[in-house]
Structure formats: C-alpha cells, structure tokens
Symmetry: C2
Subunit: 252 residues, 2 copies
DNA sequence: CGTGTTCTTGAAGCCGTTCAATGAAAGTGG
DNA sequence: CCACTTTCATTGAACGGCTTCAAGAACACG
C-alpha cells in the first residue's frame, strides 16, 4: 500500500457537481504538489517513516462524510492529503460555528483528554491518512520530534483561530469576505503554488457559519465584489482579478 | 529563592484602585489555592522540579507592563501565578483584538517559529514564573512529558479560542456578556474554588475588545443585567445573583 | 423532466455602533 | 488633605449594517 503522505498531493478539488469544462483551468498550477515538506512526517527519520507506513491508512471520504464528531472518544488522528475538511461545532439550537477548514497537509486530532473537541466532515471528496491513536502515541514516545511537530501544528491552528477572532470581532462583512479569500488563496498557494483561482469546495452557508455572517450577506458581498471586477465568480470557487484591491479591503 | 510555582497561589487580585473595604468579601474562597495541581510543573518528577527551580524566576508586573510583544523573538516562557494577563493583537489602525485572558496557572509562550504571535500585558498587579527559552527547551528534551503538557495547554487554548469564535460569530451582545461572565467564573473557580464573585481586573474596553462589542454596549448590557437582578456590579468585578438565569441567557 | 437543494436578490426591521455629554473614580502635585 | 487632571464608566440619541423573511433563479440528481 502506498502511504498517502508520501504521494504527490492531488490538488484536484472536485466541484460539488462533478467534472466541468473549466475545471482544467482551475488546476493549472497543481501538477506537482509534494506534500511531504509540510506534513508531520518530515519530522520522522527513515525508521520513523517505516513505522508510520505500518500504522498509517489511507481513507477516502465522500462529501459530508464525518471524520469524527465532537465529544466522541478520539480513536484516531488524521492527516488530510486531498480535498477539504470542515471543522465545526454545533449550538443547542442546531446552528453551526465553523471553526476552520483543514486543507491538505493539515493535522487533525490528538485532543488532551481523548475526546474530540469539534466535529469534522468532508466538503467534497476528501482523502486523509488515518492513524490509530494508540499506535500513534507509541510512535510519539519513540520520536519526540514528532510531538513537537504536532504541537507546532496546534499552535499554528491557534494562530489561525486568533486571526479569525480578529475578523469575527472587529471587521465588517466585506472585510471578512475579502480576508477569507486572501487567506484561503495563500493556504492553497502553500500547497499547490500561487494561483489567482481560489477553489471553494464549501458552500455559502459554510462560509457564513465561518465568518459569522448570514448566507444572504455572503452572497451579496461576493456579488458586489464581482460587480466591482475584484473577483470573478466561477462554479465552486472564485478567480481573483484584483488581489491588491482585495487585500486593501481586507485590511480596511 | 522560593519558586512561585510551588507556593500557594495568591488569589488576591488587586482592585485597580488598590485596597477597598469590600475586598475581603471578594476573596472569601481564596485562602488556599495550591497551584501545583494544574500547572505544567506537575508533569515533572522530583528531579524535574529541581531543574525547574534552577531556571525559573519569579517576576512581578505592574498594571499595563508588557510581558512580551507580538513579533518579538520569544526569549522566555511564562507561567502566570497571580493576577491576570491580557493577550491581544493590534490592528493597523491601532484598535485591539483581545484574544484571551491568562489566569493563574496558564502557560504563555513557546511559539513554533520563535516569535510571539500576540502581545501580552498585565491587567493589574501580576506575578509570573519566567523561564529562559533555551534552558526550557533543554528541560523539555529531558522530560518528554513536559512537552505533552505544554501541548495540552495549547490545545486547551485552541478550545477556548473555538468557544470564543462561537460567541463572536453567532451570539448577540447579551449572550456574549453572559457567557463571558459564566466562563470566567468557572475559570476562577478552578483556581480559587467556586464563588459567585467574579473579579474583573480588566476594564470595560478590554471586555469589549474581547467580545467584539463597543464599550458602550458592554456597559449597557451589564447595567441591564444589574437592573434585572441577575448580577450586582461591584468595583473591579461582579457578583452573580442568578447563575441559572445567566447560563440561560448565555445559551441563547 | 420534475424535484430538491443551493444561490441570488429584494424589502423591512432591529441590534449594535458612533457620537457626544455627563458622572464617577483614581492619580498628581500643591 | 484638597483641587486639578486624567482616565474610565454610564447613558442618551441617531445612524447604519446586517439579519430576517420571502420569493425567484440556477443547478444537481434521480
């Protein structure tokens, strides 16, 4: 079995509706996407890799398939290798707060008290590398560097969460959307190389639940950006026409 | 030298203006506050403690004194032992987003890239245990459990950040304030034992910057809660009169 | 082709902000 | 100890951005 973490990243984020004519354009920069450099695996030496191969398992998730649920015992950790994962919490009244999106290379799991602290499901076809928690812990015991890497991953997530808190607390709708697009573009760029095409496998509702906006406002704001020629709305994504302007609005 | 981490926690959070007649009441449950149980030090065996004693240093901060600044090289890590620390980021236009408050027992520092990811300053008289980064790293190398503890601390911070995102994104002002008070009460309770008196060493502006509200709304909402006999506003804090009701408002 | 879901767009209403004035408390220097 | 200054908290009035409600359009899927 090939370990997903070692294979080149498949950046082909599928459109919600399946293949489309313009899809080839969206993926122009994604031919070569070595994931190893930013995955936790690079902390492992050759022996570590061998151990990882023995316990890692490539799994595929269809759209909306749950990786795990909040409160559930954490029996495994994941390293996303392709697609996009929604991380969210549910309110008592059924509404959601999307706390983040996990892109290829991102690490999920390993809560301190063995219970997942949020739910995660796939937004579109997604693959991940799954590690049994017990065996992963044993591997960590043998490779202290790995824990440091996982910790760094958590701190980076905390940093992103802080960015998000700045957005949620003190920005108006247009700045939220603009910052969201710019930020997502940069995250994709780190994976697939820089591109003005930003895939949005998640729906408008997801974006709204992430930014603390109603779906109406998300749609309206995107439409206005498109009218002002800042972006171009394409199926399952946007093409950024005026990045400088978008940054300006985001910092606004 | 006495190591602050080993001494009983002084829960005497000073009022911004110094001593006051009602202060004794506010601290009724704080006579005995052993901090060791929830500090990172409990991960260390006796030898580890010895090492910690050699490198730890008790430091005191006056109100508004900076522990460190965002972007600054991280030369030390801190374990708060008394008082309260504001964690914040600055916008380009000078406004702040308070990303959290560190209470006694909380761990600060150890970013992945050796640069602080937010600023931290004292809200009122605060003491902390300071560790040089280099020596702390060496200690971590000798005590793998310690890193796991630090990691857990980061994950807990991430969890709090997610809670905060839920508040910021999908709650109205009264729910934000109510949840803030309930949450802070529980954090104090873990330190000082349960009490209906919630010290608020930070100012209204800090609370507003934390919850994404204007200072006017913070003040108005607190006043309304007081009018409705849910809380009682006392200098540098509030006394919770109807906790059940407060929880109800917090949950929406 | 029909059905269900997602996205767009309009209109009305409300919550929170902004601006501004007043009041209260703390810090300072005489 | 008192007057002055500064900072912080409270409260009012008006404005505005976002939500809610609702209807229609576009799209996916059987």
């Amino acid at each position: 079995m090939t370990i997903a973490l070692l294979t080149p990243l498949d950046c082909d984020v599928p459109a919600r509706g399946g293949l489309r004519p313009w899809r080839a354009r969206a993926l122009e920069n994604c031919d070569e996407c070595p994931i190893r450099s930013f995955s936790i695996c690079s902390a492992l030496d050759r022996d570590g890799f061998g151990a990882l191969q023995a316990i890692g398992q490539e799994v595929t998730f269809r759209s909306r398939a749950l990786l795990f649920m909040e409160g559930e015992p954490a029996e495994a950790v994941f390293n996303v290798t392709a697609g996009l994962v929604r991380l969210f919490r549910l309110f008592a009244d059924g509404r959601r707060q999307v706390v983040g999106f996990a892109l290829p290379g991102d690490f999920l799991g390993l809560p301190p008290d063995d219970r997942h602290m949020f739910s995660a499901d796939a937004a579109g076809l997604t693959t991940a590398c799954r590690f049994g928690r017990q065996t992963f812990s044993e591997l960590v015991a043998e490779h202290p560097d790995l824990l440091r890497r996982v910790h760094d991953s958590a701190v980076r997530a905390l940093d992103l969460a802080h960015d998000q808190m700045m957005l949620l607390g003190h920005r108006r709708a247009e700045a939220k959307i603009a910052a969201f697009l710019v930020g997502l573009r940069e995250r994709w760029a780190r994976i697939c190389g820089s591109s003005v095409l930003v895939p949005l496998p998640m729906g408008r509702q997801d974006i709204g639940d992430f930014l603390g906006l109603s779906i109406a406002t998300v749609s309206r704001t995107l439409t206005r950006f498109a009218r002002e020629r800042v972006i171009l709305i394409v199926p399952s994504g946007v093409r950024i026409l005026d990045l400088a302007r978008l940054r300006q609005v985001a910092d606004g």
